[in-house]
């Protein structure tokens, strides 16, 4: 066992007095049952009123959020798309595909976040509003982490480009500037607006120098006195060398140019060109990468990773990926300044800057309240072939472990189980077993739902589960007296024993009522009839009725006889069959040949000789036996008469 990474969180169950009473629990998939026992904690038992409830504790509560359901459903499609990405694809095309997938995931998170935000604003009571707001911040953190992972692990941007990506990352997540900008520009006199210089500073901090320049030109227009220095500052901003995506400039060229520009800035500082305007002076210091000047803008930077990126932009724009962790750590230390300790999010980001994927996933698993994030991120990173070496000391690899956890959570939900199926499919080691265990536990309240579950099982050749589901449905149908349905289900399950049972019910009903129910089914059995002997008999017996109805007496007679001689008919049913033969024996023309009549007689004798001899019997039984005896007598008479006619007929036919 590895040691624990943190103290497990304590969940307090309202109403349960764990101080006084002992508690008991039982694990379920994704849920836990908890209740109080009657044992108290100490031997001295004082009478404490006990809690009469059993509690269901769910660990994955996010699954139950209405808005997050959209995230689960939409990302399910993306997940499937990712699994289908051709393994053959290599190099650039593969990378661009993976980046696209990652962006899709992020856009789904963003969509959810925006909706959650709307709901939080519209929430009537403050408690639920707070809850939604906290969800928004969780989603926002998820997107932030994901985006950084995308830049560092999937995009794997080289030096130079790396910083451009990081700038985009910061701009995307520190977005208060847009509303501020709208506010300032919307005012009558922008340069007199209270937040004007804040806005310009933020724009410079985010490296949005073109916009900053435009702002400065407004200031220049408003106060002619400072127009000159504003223009100089504007020129500095314009000439700052940057790597543009389409440019073929080499890194060394860029570094050289940047060095020149940096020296120029330095000169302006030494000349005290901007001394008359403290705002511009501080801007210049920022552009020189002065750490103290940057830290003065703590409020505007709002977090250490913004500080990190700005610091890199103005001091080392061609930073190499391997050097990132050094800058990250020092930026974090400088920014927090020993005043506060880093929070989980800081640790996760720091781990990412250190390129420690496992640490990122581990910290996320601990910090986040759902498995969605880690499962999908890990899966994506696995597709980038970044996790091969890591095997857990139990079960399977980390990707599979997290996917299994996530999918089990989905199965615990009453309606999201369909999504879970596909996740299990892509877990090569334990997915199948997990699916088998989960799928049998889905409550089947309608046939349509059962059909959907069956389709899932049949597509995966899970014959055992198919049989058990069909059996459940067949049993249900029998209980509801729907014999036709029951038979259909047992045919689908190829369950011979159950088909026999249902066929017996049909025959019993026939004996009681003298007519068959559910003819539409029995008459259309087709090849399914061969499933069990009893079912074959049922089908054939109905065929006999048909022939008889169509007055095809000879065919009917031989079928009837073959049912007995082939021993397909259950012995208990022979008397009924023989009675059915009676009208055939009494027809005007001879139907049973002499030989057939002998066989019929044989059957009758078989039946009567094996009849158990009863001892004491009540009146009802006596009456029954009386009827039976009369029947046998009548049969014997009819058989004898038919035999006589048949012999005469056959004799005369041969003679002529």
């Amino acid at each position: 066992m590895e040691e624990l990474d943190g103290e497990p969180a304590v969940t307090v169950i309202p109403g349960v007095n764990s101080k006084k009473k002992q508690m008991c629990f039982d694990w379920g998939p994704g849920e836990m049952l908890v209740c109080e026992t009657s044992f108290s904690k100490k031997e001295k038992s004082e009478m404490v009123p006990s809690c009469p409830f059993i509690y269901i504790i769910r660990k994955d509560v996010d699954v139950y959020s209405q808005i997050l359901r959209k995230l689960f459903n939409e990302s399910h499609g993306i997940f499937l798309g990712l699994q289908r990405i051709d393994e053959e694809l290599t190099g650039k095309s593969r990378k661009s595909q993976l980046v696209r997938v990652s962006k899709n995931y992020r856009s789904v998170i963003r969509a959810c976040m925006e909706e959650m935000h709307q709901v939080a604003i519209a929430a009537k009571d403050p408690a639920s509003g707070r809850q939604f707001s906290s969800q928004v911040s969780i989603l926002s953190a998820m997107e932030l982490i994901w985006n950084l992972c995308e830049i560092l692990f999937i995009e794997v941007a080289p030096a130079g480009h790396l910083l451009l990506h990081l700038l985009d990352w910061v701009r995307l997540h520190v977005c208060e500037v847009d509303s501020l900008s709208a506010d300032v520009l919307g005012s009558e006199n922008p340069s007199n607006h209270g937040s004007f210089w804040n806005l310009v500073t933020i724009l410079v901090l985010q490296g949005r120098l073109d916009e900053a320049r435009q702002m400065l030109s407004k200031e220049a227009d408003a106060s002619p006195a400072s127009a000159g220095i504003c223009r100089i500052m504007g020129d500095l901003m314009r000439t700052m060398p940057i790597l543009s995506p389409g440019n073929t400039q080499t890194l060394t060229e860029l570094e050289l140019k940047w060095q020149h520009w940096h020296e120029e800035c330095e000169r302006y500082l030494q000349d005290s060109t901007f001394a008359t305007n403290p705002h511009l002076e501080s801007l210049l210091k920022i552009m020189l990468g002065d750490e103290a000047a940057l830290l003065e803008q703590k409020e505007l930077l709002s977090n250490w990773y913004h500080f990190l990126v700005t610091r890199l932009l103005y001091s080392n724009p061609t930073v190499k990926p391997i050097d990132l962790h050094y800058y990250a750590q020092s930026s974090l230390d400088l920014f927090l300044g020993g005043e506060s300790s880093p929070e989980p999010l800081d640790n996760i980001l720091l781990a990412a800057f250190e390129f420690d994927i496992h640490q990122v996933i581990k910290e996320c698993s601990i910090a986040l309240s759902n498995w969605w994030f880690v499962a999908h991120l890990t899966d994506l990173l696995d597709h980038c072939k970044l996790l091969q070496s890591h095997n857990l000391y139990f079960g399977s690899n980390m990707r599979e472990f997290l996917l299994l956890e996530y999918a089990s959570g989905l199965f615990a939900h009453p309606s999201l189980w369909q999504l879970g199926v596909d996740y299990f499919d892509y877990c090569p080691k334990l997915g199948r077993v997990s699916l088998e265990l989960h799928i049998e536990r889905i409550p089947l309240n309608t046939e349509q739902k059962a059909l959907k579950v069956l389709r899932i099982c049949e597509q995966r050749q899970m014959t055992e589960q198919v049989r058990s589901i069909c059996k459940i449905l067949a049993m249900k149908a029998v209980r509801n007296n729907r014999l036709g349905s029951a038979l259909s289900w047992s045919i689908r399950a190829k369950d011979a024993a159950f088909a026999t049972l249902v066929s017996d019910r049909f025959l019993r009903d026939y004996c009681e009522r003298g007519c068959f129910s559910d003819l539409d089914l029995i008459d259309n059995l087709g090849p399914a009839m061969m499933l069990s002997d009893r079912l074959t008999f049922l089908g054939k017996y109905r065929e006999f009725h048909h022939m008889y109805g169509e007055k095809r007496f000879a065919d009917a007679a031989s079928l009837l006889l073959s049912l007995m001689t082939s021993r397909i008919a259950p012995r208990s049913f022979w008397m009924t069959l023989l009675t059915d033969a009676l009208p055939l024996l009494e027809q005007k023309q001879v139907i049973f040949s002499a030989e057939q009549t002998y066989e019929l007689m044989q059957c009758l004798e078989d039946l009567t000789s094996r009849r158990p001899v009863r001892g004491e019997s009540d009146i009802q039984q006596l009456q029954d036996e009386d009827i039976e005896t009369t029947k046998v007598e009548m049969l014997r008479l009819a058989l004898a008469r038919n035999l006589a006619r048949a012999i005469i007929r056959e004799g005369s036919l041969e003679g002529s």
Partner: protein, 380 residues
């Protein structure tokens, strides 16, 4: 089909239906109803795809559908039909049939009428009743016909408290769907591959005609009648096959078309353009079948997802001497001459498409992936 809008709605959608347009109206469809299934709480919801002008500015883009109102529904919504402009009839997995009334003034839905135990199982030999899911409902003002897993057919009339007519044990297996053939005849399909025609003028509980697939007893899940030629009927089965039937002749389908890879949940002829047919399936696909025969060289135009449809036709040779113009394009089954163009309408496959509806140039469908797709330019 570039313009297909998806919206995730946090509930698995079992049924989608357009609200019928008032007769003589030249508008296009803009309101549809959906029913959900397999949730802890199920809902019947009304949606609008109309333009909300102001919504376009704050993120809601044109074509996105907005929720008008919804109401709790007890049990899964197994089927859903508009009775008229304001009323919606639903079939529940609890065996209950409900009529909901839409109040356009304050955008609410309310229960207008309810038959709580329309479908039930009678226990063996005991008077104990347990409810049976109602699987299908069809309306033809003022009549409502429902079928269920109990093999029962009910004929209700709006504003009548009791069923006007009930056929107990109409089917030994589960009835999956029902449609009107021509009043007062209805058509049902069941789980052993049979199509039965019932005439309410006849007493007794025997169908007036039984048609069936041969041998295999593949369950049929959906049925739709050609809007103009009432003898032409399309059904979809568990194996995803599309069958076209001519109920005037024979007891077997005229043609069997290999279609989806899993259960076909719904089939619909286009109501005003019946050479077009739409099907959806458990395999997550939604197909548009175009049998209008005026395009030559169709085989080259087959889109992704649409495989060349193989005709396993029981060709009816005597069709040749019937006047050509009256033959529905669905009954002529000369594979060399007529090809059907099939287009897959949904971009990527995932979970089951449970329901679809077409009206004019508009199509709506709902899926188990909790998304509703709408397009307003079907024939562009």
């Amino acid at each position: 089909m570039e313009e297909i809008y998806a919206k995730f709605v946090s509930q698995k959608i079992s049924k989608t239906r357009w609200r019928p347009l008032p007769p003589g109206s030249l508008q296009t469809a803009e309101t549809f109803a959906t029913g959900s299934w397999d949730n802890e709480e199920n809902y019947v919801s009304l949606w609008s795809i109309g333009d909300f002008g102001n919504l376009d500015s704050d993120g809601g883009f044109e074509g996105d559908h907005q929720l008008l109102c919804d109401i709790r529904h007890h049990g899964d919504v197994m089927d859903l039909q508009f009775f008229d402009q304001e009323r919606i009839v639903t079939a529940s997995s609890t065996g209950c049939v409900t009529v909901f009334l839409h109040h356009p003034n304050n955008q609410t839905l309310s229960v207008n009428q309810q038959w709580t135990t329309a479908h039930y199982h009678a226990g063996p030999g005991s008077p104990s009743y347990s409810s049976a899911p109602c699987t299908g409902v069809v309306c033809n003002n003022p009549e409502i016909v429902t079928v269920g897993e109990d093999g029962r057919i009910n004929l209700f009339r709006a504003d009548h408290k009791e069923a006007v007519r009930t056929i107990d044990n109409a089917d030994s297996s589960t009835l999956h769907s029902v449609t009107f053939l021509r009043t007062p005849e209805i058509l049902t399909v069941n789980s052993i591959g049979q199509l039965k025609i019932w005439d309410f003028r006849q007493q007794g509980n025997e169908p007036s005609q039984i048609l069936s697939l041969t041998g295999d007893r593949v369950p049929l899940h959906c049925v739709d009648r050609h809007p103009n030629q009432q003898h032409v009927v399309a059904t979809g089965g568990q194996d995803g096959m599309l069958s076209i039937w001519d109920v005037r002749q024979g007891t077997m389908p005229v043609s069997l078309l290999k279609a989806h890879e899993a259960e076909m949940w719904e089939v619909h002829f286009h109501p005003s353009n019946p050479d077009h047919l739409f099907t959806c399936s458990e395999d997550g696909s939604l197909w548009h079948w175009d049998a209008s025969t005026d395009v030559p060289e169709k085989s080259s135009l087959f889109h992704q997802g649409g495989r060349s449809s193989t005709f396993l036709s029981h060709s009816i040779s005597n069709q040749a001497n019937v006047h050509q113009s009256v033959i529905s394009s669905w009954l002529s089954t000369d594979p060399a001459k007529d090809r059907i163009e099939i287009t897959s309408l949904l971009p990527s496959r995932s979970l089951s498409v449970n329901s679809l509806d077409v009206l004019g140039p508009c199509l709506v469908c709902g899926t188990d992936a909790e998304a509703i797709y709408v397009t307003r330019h079907l024939f562009s």
